[in-house]
């Protein structure tokens, strides 16, 4: 059985990825901060919950090791854990910035780095970094978050380039606001995509499942928007 590791798998896109990869026949381990939510997802999917906060370097490194021990092999890594930071960069405290970069840059870097040996041992595999549409077209309401996500897309591109010879692929997925997701479940607070709808976690998990499959064997180092064409052209205010 192939093995998959998902960070931040207790809710939103991460949970959808756990559900999908388990349904596709992967043995799945996933991390999260909330033990109750973790237990619920584990019970629903047969996946294994490993408590780890993405800000905790030792716990995050140990989680990769433990996943490899439980699964016996590692074929897919989905680096998903994240959080939103609203408000101007001018007003972001040093602590908020350090946390943001720790979760969205350092943790994906460390998780990828920690997984390389196991992915190599499996004869190759797939790393998917859940970035954001903000990595490509930043959001002025989420400016610091956009900065971090831009870096995470570059991280995926360079993992892809660096590990190509090992048969390890890495890609960045850049979703728009997803429901249910980090922003909560109230669509009234967020603008939908150009089409007028929001993607669901399952829509993002579809792309993750594809990127982890052999059908995507030539897709690597790619930064892929899943944003209902938001980033494809400038968004103009509605004609009055």
């Amino acid at each position: 059985m192939k093995g998959a590791f998902v960070t931040g798998g207790t809710a939103g896109i991460g949970r959808a990825c756990v559900e999908r990869l388990a349904a596709d026949g992967y043995g799945v381990c996933f991390t999260g901060r909330d033990a109750d939510r973790g237990a619920a997802v584990a019970a629903a999917t047969g996946a294994t919950f490993i408590a780890a906060d993405a800000r905790d370097r030792a716990a995050s490194d140990a989680a990769v090791e433990r996943a490899v021990a439980i699964l016996g092999r590692l074929d897919a890594v989905v680096v998903n854990a994240g959080h939103l930071v609203h408000g101007p960069i001018a007003e972001a405290s040093e602590e908020v910035l350090r946390n943001l970069f720790e979760v969205h840059l350092t943790n994906p870097f460390r998780t990828g780095r920690a997984a390389i040996a196991a992915l190599r041992a499996a004869g190759g595999g797939s790393i998917v970094v859940i970035s954001s549409e903000c990595a490509i077209r930043g959001s002025h309401r989420l400016p610091a978050y956009s900065v971090a996500k831009a870096g995470s897309a570059m991280l995926a591109e360079l993992f892809g380039a660096e590990l190509a010879r090992d048969g390890i692929r890495a890609n960045a997925l850049c979703p728009t606001n997803t429901l249910p997701g980090m922003a909560g479940d109230d669509p009234a607070t967020w603008k939908p995509t150009r089409s007028g709808t929001f993607p669901s976690g399952a829509d993002i998990a579809n792309a993750v499942a594809w990127l982890c499959s052999d059908e995507a064997r030539h897709v690597s180092g790619a930064t892929i928007r899943i944003d209902g064409a938001n980033g494809a052209a400038m968004i103009l205010p509605p004609a009055s």
Binding site: R110, G151, M154, E157, L158
Partner: protein
């Protein structure tokens, strides 16, 4: 040319490479300049030559960042131009990048420019300008300097986000994205590297290795009123090296 007369500028990491070239150029265009660095010995010559004020500061120390901005404001009587140039380079693929190197890159190349902007903001009025230092590696990554490229891609987005955030206050924010530049970055994580042998560098399609003075000229343009409407842009200055998939082979083929 006195485009920058009456302007007051702070350049971080101004003791060598692009930073030193920027100090010289801004002074030459009429600005009053303060610059930071870790080593007063390296700074002496430039301060003496240009009349610019040297401030000792390590940008990995947030207290030193705030202190150096205050010292610059004191010395210059205000601040109109900020060039948070100090940066470190690290060679190696991601798989071999140590925690220490990663943290140094993130703190120096990404966090420090943000903290500098925050510290400088109360002093920057309408007509002020910030120039961040990206890299051609922020536009298109390089495996050999992978973690560095991650930080510079983030700086790329930082440029845009600050341009949007500060635009309404009359403060413009842009970035220069230099290709391999000489004299350029000699600061590796941990300590200073030996000066690279530029003659071995791959030439861009122009056949000319980028000179630090050319980056300084672009910085001077971006902070001047000539660039009044240039905001949130990343100016790639790399001789065309990133203009095509294998542009790095073009010069060698053409000069065969």
């Amino acid at each position: 040319m006195n485009r920058l007369e009456h302007r007051r500028a702070l350049v971080t990491g101004g003791t060598s490479g692009i930073g030193a070239a920027a100090v010289r150029r801004l002074v030459a265009e009429g600005a009053r300049v303060a610059f930071t660095g870790r080593d007063p010995q390296r700074a002496g010559g430039i301060a003496e030559e240009t009349g610019a004020t040297f401030i000792t500061a390590d940008v990995r120390d947030p207290a030193a960042i705030r202190r150096s901005v205050a010292a610059a404001v004191d010395a210059l009587g205000g601040l109109d131009i900020l060039v948070p140039n100090a940066g470190v380079l690290h060679h190696g693929p991601l798989g071999e990048t140590t925690d220490a190197a990663w943290d140094a890159l993130l703190e120096t190349n990404l966090l420090a420019p943000i903290l500098y902007v925050q510290a400088a903001l109360p002093h920057l009025g309408a007509g002020s300008s910030v120039v961040l230092i990206g890299s051609d590696g922020s536009v298109w990554g390089e495996i050999e300097i992978a973690a560095y490229c991650v930080t510079k891609r983030a700086v790329h987005m930082l440029t845009r986000m600050l341009a949007v955030e500060l635009g309404p206050r009359g403060i413009r924010v842009n970035a220069v994205c230099p290709g391999d530049t000489a004299p350029g970055m000699v600061t590796g994580v941990g300590d200073r590297a030996a000066l690279p042998d530029v003659s071995t560098w791959t030439k861009p399609p122009t056949g000319i290795t980028v000179h630090a003075d050319e980056i300084a000229a672009a910085i001077a343009f971006l902070v001047s009123d000539d660039a009044r409407s240039t905001n949130g842009t990343e100016l790639l200055i790399d001789g065309g090296m990133k203009a095509a998939l294998r542009a790095n082979t073009v010069w060698a083929e053409a000069s065969r």
